[in-house]
């Protein structure tokens, strides 16, 4: 069943259709079934008992990216993301998940909740990349034997950082303790932490340069976004409690994250835990302190200066940074402040790239259609660097660069900025 909170969202939909033109899947298909309004209507019909949780209903919910662009377009303020989670929960409860969603759940949701397991997987992945197995499979065309989604997505697997990178990170953290003026607790994030060492290290360096004592909150769990989006709200709650407790233990006044998708989830903990008397207030305090890196850098004690190398840079917004947290300008202001580089907004920068959590695994074909449209917009700018603000977007844009034979380099905002940081970088 769809819970009462979500039903309330449905009742606020006036079916005006203002969400249609901003929806990436509606743009691709022109089909109401693939639109926010259509999905809400199906939820309504499901709630009224007119259709079941399987078939058309489950498919329609699966095809949604959950980018929440519709929320910003909605004049009635319907929180679509919330309704979608409830609908996916209903699909999961009814055992109507598609095999792809179930497989993605097995492959991704369990490991991300368990950092040790994720690191183990990362090591295996690193072995695959470094051992020559990848080269062998690619060289012999044996990647063709992989299941199609994996085959499509294989090129986007990031180069997994070596163990040495973690030691560098530790050194930077220690250096910041000496130089910092305020304590900032940094959310590691599961995937970001395991697979994006350079972005993590760059984040620490930027925060330190801005005057922060950076505490890497190792005890924090995965934010729970993948679970919530897949309909496992209870699983998300457990992770949220663990994360909140870990941050409280650090004793920092300011919390920072560097992944738009995680950030939106972290900011939504008060909603997630609102019916939990023990945690509701703690979740509010937690969310109030949590900021995206791009926002935090604007208000830390030391101003930063950046010097670029004469390249053209564009920015792919993170959906959940824009639609979930309303952060549009801060990253752009930082990018524009880099002397010597040229920042150009690409057309439709705020449109989803098609990554959307596990979406590119479960809906590979649609994800690629959306990505190819995105790369058309990228081409209009012909950038040397595409800056992103979320690990999923980074992976997807790297794949896009390969598919479109672009020469652009894809970098997390932190990496791009840290490379261009002027002045003595502590611990650098």
């Amino acid at each position: 069943m769809i819970g009462p909170e979500a039903l309330e969202e449905l009742e606020h939909c006036n079916k005006c259709g203002f969400c249609l033109p901003v929806c990436p899947t509606y743009r691709e298909t022109g089909s109401e079934v693939a639109s926010p309004r259509g999905r809400l209507a199906l939820m309504e019909a499901f709630g009224l008992g007119e259709i079941g949780a399987g078939g058309d209903f489950a498919q329609a919910m699966d095809l949604c990216l959950g980018c929440r662009a519709c929320e910003r377009a909605c004049p009635s303020g319907v929180r679509f993301g919330r309704a979608l989670e409830a609908a996916r929960q209903a699909v999961a409860e009814a055992g109507e998940q598609s095999p792809a969603v179930r497989r993605a759940g097995r492959l991704l949701l369990r490991p991300v909740a368990d950092p040790a397991r994720l690191r183990g997987l990362a090591s295996a992945l690193r072995l695959y990349q470094r051992s020559g197995l990848r080269a062998l499979l690619r060289g012999t065309g044996l990647t063709a034997l992989m299941p199609r989604p994996l085959r499509t997505l294989e090129p986007m697997l990031p180069e997994v950082p070596a163990a040495a990178a973690r030691r560098d990170l530790q050194r930077d953290l220690e250096a910041s303790e000496a130089s910092g003026e305020v304590t900032v607790a940094l959310f590691p994030g599961c995937v970001q932490d395991a697979l994006f060492g350079p972005a993590q290290r760059a984040t620490v360096r930027l925060l330190a340069a801005a005057g922060a004592r950076v505490r890497y909150v190792e005890g924090a769990a995965c934010c729970g976004a993948l679970h919530a989006h897949a309909g496992d709200r209870e699983g998300a709650r457990a992770l949220a409690r663990q994360t909140i407790a870990a941050f409280e233990a650090v004793g920092a006044q300011r919390y920072v994250n560097n992944a738009g998708g995680c950030g939106a989830m972290l900011k939504e903990y008060p909603d997630l835990l609102r019916d939990d008397p023990e945690w509701a207030e703690r979740a509010r305090a937690f969310a109030d302190r949590m900021e995206d890196l791009s926002v935090a850098l604007g208000s830390l004690p030391r101003p930063l200066a950046f010097r670029g190398t004469g390249v053209t840079v564009t920015y792919q917004d993170s959906c959940h940074l824009v639609n979930g947290q309303g952060v549009v300008d801060p990253p752009r202001r930082l990018l524009q402040s880099v002397a010597g580089d040229r920042f150009v907004d690409m057309p439709a920068a705020q449109d989803c790239c098609g990554s959307a959590g596990i979406y590119n695994f479960t809906q590979t074909e649609m994800s690629m259609r959306i990505l190819d449209r995105k790369m058309g917009n990228v081409a209009a700018v012909a950038p040397d660097v595409i800056v992103t603000a979320n690990p999923g977007c980074t992976l997807q844009m790297r794949l896009g660069v390969r598919r479109s034979r672009s020469r652009a380099k894809v970098m997390h905002l932190a990496e791009y900025l840290a490379e261009r940081l002027e002045g003595p970088a502590p611990g650098g």
């Binding site: 203002f18 022109g30 079934v33």
Partner: protein
């Protein structure tokens, strides 16, 4: 078609949220399908469309059962055609299965126009969304119906042209939907509604036949404006598959003014002052006190505290002209008692002033879980009275109704927030809704301005129209779609359905003497005609020449001759009897400081409207049809007096019936009187240029594509046989600079005014042609590359007889020979070969050789219309 004998048809499934419409559905013959029936339909659709472009799942069908009203219905299948041919094939499949067809765009409509109340096939037009071409010379764009309004604007932004109608849904709604609903928007006050921006339609008929309808303006006399009747017909007459829209020059810039008033009366009085002073704002919006308070609370737009009404006004034009207009407007608003006036001259300031208006829907939508957006019009001088009525209704029903209005059009949107789960609130909302409709009708308005009738206001049609008027609209439906398969039970309420719904049509008002005389004249004429066509005549000069080769009985419909001319200067309308002489009307308007954009010529105003003659020199691109807001006509089997349209810009509920009477030579009955839209008179002058034809055309072309084109009224290029040409222009004075730049010199009318003499000269030629003494070649839509050559040829062919052309638009060539020569035929073919349209008037056949649609197609429809209108209601 019918259900197999002996088996009861499967019951129509009713979803939660679908009101009981059984009494309306009772008269329908379309089938309801059971499971196997639906499977067969889907299989046949898949065979003609494509397997993956037909949806049949229950959830998928549910997603195609609603629009922005709260109605929910269930179609049997959804098909996504990619081409007109696929759409036609899908309509044929539906016809074979005896089920309904509902064309659907974005389903952002607010009247239930796209909801499939009788099931059947939903044709989702969203994937026919190509921009097929933009013709900057003719200022038109060809689009498929699924193209989103905003996307068109974005795609043509670089051309210096714009598509004017901008309904609030423009980011979402499709042009097909806009045409079907005759959408409005804030810019209608200057540019008019969608109907004035559609030049031509390609459609699929109820039988699944593809048809190119005659051009809305540039068509041969006697050919009914079938494009015009289609606009606003809500998908009930045909499925639109291609649209040629008219584009306008992009405004050079806008200034925005905001003025706060103590109460709606003061605000509306200020609007009247602005209009009376001859200013032409491009938007003129009003928010009532409740709205102002509401948006302040949510959007903090900084609107003046405690204002009883706020006006937002925009003026367009070049910076200097704009500054002058804005200053004048500000002065007038202050004189009218504005508490405060703010003027914005840059984009940021403009956005700030608009912020509250833009936030209105959102602010209201958050008051309760649902928001009902009502849409009614009244003649503009009655706007304040209507706002007060709405306030009283809100108090009576304890509802927080907030009204925004397109004040320049007298078009109000009272917004009613309500909770659909609360039966008491729902019943109060419905009662208030009904009272709002009754109030607007009582004040002489229309029950819809721009949202359409759909299913939501179907029964309310009885408030506005008499039984005869409802029957006439139903007759139009029957001519196009006798089996009622296209979007059934929408837009028009048949007298039978009104009876079943327990609705009494409006009682006709007692006829005036002239009206009684017209009724009697048609009755007598029908008897005397004895089976022949009874043809009303005005001055009578051309009557016997109409419908050549057919037996007609001409009769004078208005023996009283010149009738009353009632100018309503505040409303900018004139009501005029059909028998009035154009010169008398012109004199009356002149005295009032007003004018018509397309002044009548000929013997009588009625005759002029009935002919809507082809006049090449109109640089506005408008014709007789564009001035008509309402017509009183005599029609039907009895016959009866019918009044269609209202004295407001957004004048139509149901079919735009006046379109059928304008230009159709009286075949549907005589016009008795008309309400025409007026404009403040602007000073004009005459300019002239001569030189080599190519140069003259080039100069004219530059002029027509400049923003100053908006100030041009008349223009004609007259080539002579030796390769030279002269061009005359009548324009408002602000165009003087652009005219000088294009090589034109100002001349005085005393030295001769060929533009003023042109209609009479052309009419004389037309009469000669009808008598078989001469011929006239008409053409429109010549591409500029070809134009010089074709005009030079025309001048040689005419050998001294007149040739008139408006570059990029229309050409009329008089040939002094009874039977046109081979050269003339070659010329017509040459025009057609480059995508233009051309036809010949000679020997009394004004529509010989119309391309591209075969005359038989529209003639069949015209004849069917004539028959169904004369027959009255069918047995059902």
């Amino acid at each position: 078609m019918a259900t197999a004998a002996g088996t009861a048809p499967p019951e129509r499934e009713r979803l939660t949220g679908a009101p009981d419409r059984a009494h309306l559905l009772a008269g329908l013959t379309v089938r309801t399908l059971d499971g196997p029936g639906r499977a067969a339909l889907v299989a046949d659709l898949r065979a003609v469309v494509a397997a993956d472009r037909v949806l049949s799942g229950r959830g998928e069908r549910l997603a195609y059962g609603y629009d922005a009203t709260s109605e929910r219905w269930l179609p049997d299948a959804v098909a996504f055609p990619l081409t007109a041919e696929e759409a036609a094939a899908a309509v044929r499949v539906a016809a074979r299965h005896g089920v309904a067809v509902v064309a659907r765009g974005a389903a952002s409509g607010l009247s239930g126009g796209a909801v499939p109340v009788a099931g059947g096939v939903v044709l989702a037009m969203t994937r026919m969304d190509r921009l097929l071409g933009v013709d900057t010379a003719r200022r038109t764009a060809d689009v498929e119906p699924g193209l989103v309004n905003r996307t068109l604007s974005d795609r043509i932004a670089g051309t210096g042209l714009a598509y004017a109608p901008d309904p609030a849904s423009y980011r979402v709604s499709t042009l097909g939907g806009n045409v079907a609903e005759n959408s409005g928007g804030p810019h209608c006050v200057l540019y008019g509604v969608t109907s004035q921006h559609v030049e031509r339609l390609e459609v699929v008929t109820a039988e699944g036949e593809r048809l190119v309808l005659p051009h809305a303006r540039d068509r041969a006399e006697g050919v009914p404006d079938l494009t015009g009747i289609l606009v606003g017909s809500e998908g009930t007459l045909a499925v639109i598959t291609r649209i040629t829209v008219r584009l306008v020059p992009q405004a050079a810039g806008q200034d925005t003014l905001l003025a706060a008033f103590a109460d709606p009366e003061a605000a509306c009085a200020a609007v009247s002052r602005v209009v009376a002073a001859g200013l032409l704002p491009s938007t003129l919006e009003l928010l009532d006190g409740t709205s102002t308070a509401m948006v302040e609370r949510s959007a903090h737009a900084g609107y003046p505290d405690g204002a009883g009404a706020v006006i937002l006004m925009e003026v367009e034009g070049e910076a200097s002209d704009r500054a002058h207009q804005a200053a004048a407007a500000e002065r007038l608003l202050r004189q009218a008692g504005a508490l405060e006036v703010r003027v914005a001259t840059d984009a940021a300031q403009r956005d700030a002033l608009w912020a509250g208006r833009r936030a209105h829907y959102g602010a209201m939508a958050r008051v309760a879980s649902h928001l009902w957006v009502q849409d009614v019009t009244v003649p503009r001088p009655r706007l304040a009275a209507m706002i007060r009525e709405v306030e009283a209704i809100a108090r009576r029903h304890r509802l927080p109704i907030a009204t925004v209005a397109h004040a320049g059009d007298g078009n109000l949107h009272p917004d009613i927030p309500y909770d659909p789960q609360d039966p008491d609130q729902v019943s109060r909302m419905r009662a208030a809704d009904r009272e709002i409709l009754e109030a607007c009708v009582a004040l002489g308005g229309s029950i819809t301005g721009e949202h359409g009738v759909g299913i939501d206001k179907l029964e309310a049609m009885a408030l506005m129209y008499t039984e005869a008027e409802l029957a006439a609209m139903t007759a139009v439906k029957r001519a196009f779609d006798p089996a009622e398969r296209l979007n059934p039970v929408k837009a028009v309420l048949s007298p039978g359905a009104a009876r079943r719904a327990g609705r009494t049509p409006r009682r006709p008002p007692p006829p005036s003497d002239a009206e009684r005389a017209a009724l009697e004249a048609l009755r007598q004429a029908r008897i005397a005609a004895a089976g022949r066509r009874a043809l009303p005549v005005g001055g009578g000069r051309r009557a016997a020449l109409a419908f050549p080769g057919q037996s007609v009985h001409p009769f004078v419909a208005d023996p009283a001759g010149e009738g009353a001319i009632r100018v309503d200067a505040e409303n900018l309308t004139v009501e005029v009897a059909a028998g009035t002489a154009p010169a008398a009307l012109a004199a009356a308007l002149d005295r009032a400081g007003l004018m018509l954009r397309t002044p009548p010529d000929g013997s009588t105003v009625g005759g002029y409207l009935a002919r809507d003659p082809f006049r090449p020199h109109r640089a506005t691109g408008l014709s007789a049809r564009d001035a008509v807001l309402a017509l009183t006509v005599v029609t039907g089997p009895t016959p009866d007096l019918c009044r269609f349209g209202r004295a407001t810009t957004k004048n139509v509920a149901g079919y735009d019936m006046p379109r059928l009477w304008v230009g159709s030579w009286g075949r549907f009955g005589p016009i008795v009187s008309a309400v025409l839209r007026l404009w403040p008179r602007r000073e004009t002058a005459l300019w002239r240029r001569s030189g080599a034809l190519a140069e003259v055309l080039d100069g004219a072309d530059r002029l027509l594509s400049a923003p100053a084109a908006a100030a041009l009224r008349e223009m004609a290029v007259v080539p002579d046989p030796d390769g030279a040409a002269q061009a005359w222009v009548r324009a408002e004075l602000p165009a003087a600079g652009a005219l000088a730049a294009a090589g034109f010199a100002r001349v005085t009318e005393r030295d001769g005014d060929p533009l003023a003499e042109l209609p009479a000269a052309l009419e004389a030629a037309e009469i000669r042609a009808a008598r078989g003494e001469a011929a006239i070649l008409y053409a429109h839509g010549l591409p500029p590359r070809i134009e010089t050559e074709r005009l030079a040829e025309a001048a040689r062919m005419a050998a001294g007889s007149p040739v008139w052309a408006l570059p990029g638009a229309r050409v009329a060539v008089c040939v002094d020979a009874a039977e046109p020569t081979g050269a003339a035929r070659a010329w017509l073919d040459g025009v057609r070969a480059v995508g233009g349209e051309a036809w010949l008037s000679s020997g009394g056949e004004p529509w010989r050789g119309i391309a591209p649609s075969p005359p038989s197609a529209w003639l069949r429809l015209a004849t069917a219309l004539e028959r169904t209108l004369a027959e009255g209601e069918a047995a059902s």
